[in-house]
């Protein structure tokens, strides 16, 4: 059996991915508690993360990402604190795991070989993001010139247009 030939084995149950999402949710909640988030915000986020585990193809994961970002802003946690650096892979992993779990019907089986490529891609993207974080940590602080901020916003808009073009492009 080579890379192109696969002998169908039993695999692991598809609900393992949902358990994994639940575990990620608990980890995210733990990090946010450590950052000082509590009360109703934490309960709301817990409910949304539970929704992510139950219905990974729902808007739950998007809502969870937004709530996590709002919590980070609300607590005023610095960008290079351990809490934010821990949230970077956790949120990304939540996003990717929900995307994959959302493809599978109930009772599906997952073969670990299938998760190899997404795992390698995850590591690669996180390496890029942490390199970016490192770069941001070493550049001088303080307020950027307005022109630079305008160029950055235009750059973000450009990325949005590029992705839309890729989506519209015939496949």
């Amino acid at each position: 059996v080579n890379d192109e030939t696969l002998e169908l084995s039993a695999g692991i149950p598809g609900w393992t991915l949902r358990v994994w999402i639940g575990g990620l949710g608990l980890a995210i909640l733990g990090v946010l508690v450590n950052a000082g988030v509590g009360g109703a915000a934490l309960i709301l986020l817990g409910v949304v993360l539970l929704l992510c585990a139950a219905l990974p193809a729902s808007p739950g994961p998007a809502l969870a990402i937004v709530l996590v970002a709002m919590s980070v802003v609300a607590t005023g946690t610095g960008p290079f604190t351990p809490e934010v650096l821990a949230l970077l892979p956790l949120v990304h992993l939540l996003h990717v795991t929900c995307a994959i779990a959302g493809l599978l019907p109930g009772g599906a089986r997952v073969h670990l070989a299938a998760l190899k490529a997404p795992a390698l891609r995850f590591v690669g993207i996180q390496a890029v993001v942490f390199a970016l974080a490192g770069l941001m940590a070493v550049v001088p602080g303080g307020r950027s010139p307005a022109v630079l901020e305008f160029v950055a916003i235009v750059g973000v808009g450009g990325i949005a247009v590029l992705v839309l073009w890729l989506l519209m492009h015939d496949r």
């Binding site: 030939t5 169908l8 990402i65 980070v72 995307a99 959302g102 599978l104 299938a114 974080a133």
Partner: protein, 457 residues
């Protein structure tokens, strides 16, 4: 003269193409929109609000979404050639070849595995695996969909998907297994000149029957010279009329076995499940499964020794196989048994018409004997002059329904009623036997071949 055909505006064409893409081809998932909206939104907010943390949180989502938009091409799936008819208890190799297209990352494919029922579960596999191999094993006879490779191909991180595509259904006919049982002699038919069984009538067989004086019409090669000379010597030494003797042989005749299967009910050992529908083609270990296996075993065993075997479905009178012999007859009976199983429960009353039963044939009634109608039918068959043997297919031991205190009482009454019916059959000269493994049946058939039964009145 016709002018140029007006074209829709580009935006309309794009919207229509998007709508078609929603049905066919690659289409974005919620995850892609989530990555784009959340990623771009967080980065934009991070820039506007001077929050580098938001920028860092949004960056992996945006990168992941951007990488996920690269899938294209049309995935294709090919299944290797499959046999249409297979034997129960055997297995085979299934090979599925996938071309997932460019940029594909994951394939969700529905495939059966050994031990799984039906078309199997969905398996999440890497798109790099172009050939998927698995073993199939057919543990239950019947007909049904064996393979339906529904599939969905995903781009990187599940951002784009192609499908789900419903795979082509592959139906399979699994023939009941052939297990031979020890068989006894069958009563030969009153008619016929050839066969493997000794007939009580004189004929041209090989088995010695009698030595008698020569009669007009006897062949000269049948003359027994030793007996004739001895008779002549005792009569004075001359071969005078009355001293010539001939050897008489038994005629040979074939025997017919008619297997009458009661397919009206399919019950298992658990009384609590009698009112529920079987999940598969037939209840494994249930009365129908037992009946089909018994009919196949009897047909195989008697056809092997050269007898003629036929099949009647008492639950669906239009189904059945006329008596015949040979290997092809066994195949016919096995095919027809699967058809009988598919049409089980067609009529509430058993039917076995006189025209379905050849004269002189031994009738083996395979039934659970849970109602009086089958007893009436058996008695009528015997009164028509056919030797009949009743084979009880009710699985043993029966287990009472657990969720009611009346379970043991119901079971006791049911067993008492069935005992009464079997006793009534025995009083009418019909031997009864529980199928078990079929070993007991040979001695019962041996007795039945000697027993004259109740003659038609």
């Amino acid at each position: 003269m016709t002018g140029p055909v007006p074209r829709d505006p580009k935006a309309v064409r794009w919207i229509l193409a998007r709508r078609n893409q929603g049905i066919l081809g690659w289409r974005p998932t919620d995850a892609l929109y989530r990555g784009l909206v959340c990623g771009l939104g967080l980065i934009a907010c991070g820039l506007v609000l001077h929050q580098p943390a938001l920028l860092l949180l949004g960056a992996p989502l945006l990168i992941s979404a951007a990488l996920g938009t690269t899938a294209n091409g049309e995935p294709t799936l090919t299944v290797g050639a499959r046999p249409k008819t297979v034997e129960q208890g055997r297995g085979d190799r299934l090979v599925v070849t996938i071309d997932p297209g460019r940029g594909a990352d994951l394939v969700a494919l529905r495939l059966p595995r050994p031990g799984s029922t039906g078309v199997g579960r969905v398996h999440l596999l890497p798109a790099s695996a172009r050939t998927i191999r698995t073993n199939l094993r057919w543990d239950a006879w019947g007909e049904g969909v064996e393979l339906r490779p529904d599939h969905l191909v995903s781009g990187q991180d599940g951002m784009l998907v192609f499908g789900p595509v419903v795979g082509p259904e592959s139906r399979r006919l699994v023939l009941p297994p052939v297990t031979e049982v020890p068989v006894g002699p069958l009563p030969p038919r009153a008619a016929g000149l050839v066969g493997v069984h000794r007939s009580p009538r004189p004929g041209d067989g090989t088995e010695h029957r009698d030595i008698r004086p020569f009669q007009a019409g006897d062949r000269l090669r049948r003359v027994d010279w030793r007996v004739s000379l001895r008779a002549a010597a005792s009569a004075g030494g001359d071969l005078v009329p009355g001293t010539l003797h001939v050897r008489e042989r038994h005629a040979e005749a074939d025997a017919e076995l008619l297997l009458a299967l009661d397919t009206r009910v399919d019950v298992g050992a658990e009384l609590g499940e009698w009112s529920t529908e079987a999940t598969g083609f037939a209840r494994p270990g249930g009365s129908l499964d037992l009946g089909v296996r018994a009919a196949t075993a009897l047909a195989a065993s008697y056809l092997r020794q050269g007898d003629r075997v036929g099949l009647v479905d008492m639950g669906s009178p239009r189904l059945g196989v006329r008596p015949g012999s040979g290997r092809r007859q066994l195949d016919k009976i096995r095919y027809q048994l699967v058809t009988c199983g598919r049409n089980a429960g067609w009529t509430p009353r058993p039917v076995l018409r006189a025209v379905q039963v050849p004269p002189g044939a031994l009738v083996v009634l395979l039934s659970t004997f849970l109602d009086d109608a089958i007893v009436d039918l058996a008695v009528h068959t015997v009164r028509r002059g056919n030797r009949t043997v009743a084979v009880d297919l009710l699985p043993r031991p029966l287990l009472p329904q657990k969720d009611t205190p009346w379970g043991p009482v119901v079971l006791a009454m049911l067993e008492a009623e069935q005992r009464t019916r079997l006793q009534a059959l025995r009083e009418h000269g019909i031997p009864t036997v529980n199928w078990g493994d079929g070993a007991m049946l040979s001695s019962v058939l041996r007795r039945a071949s000697r027993y004259r039964g109740v003659r038609a009145r």
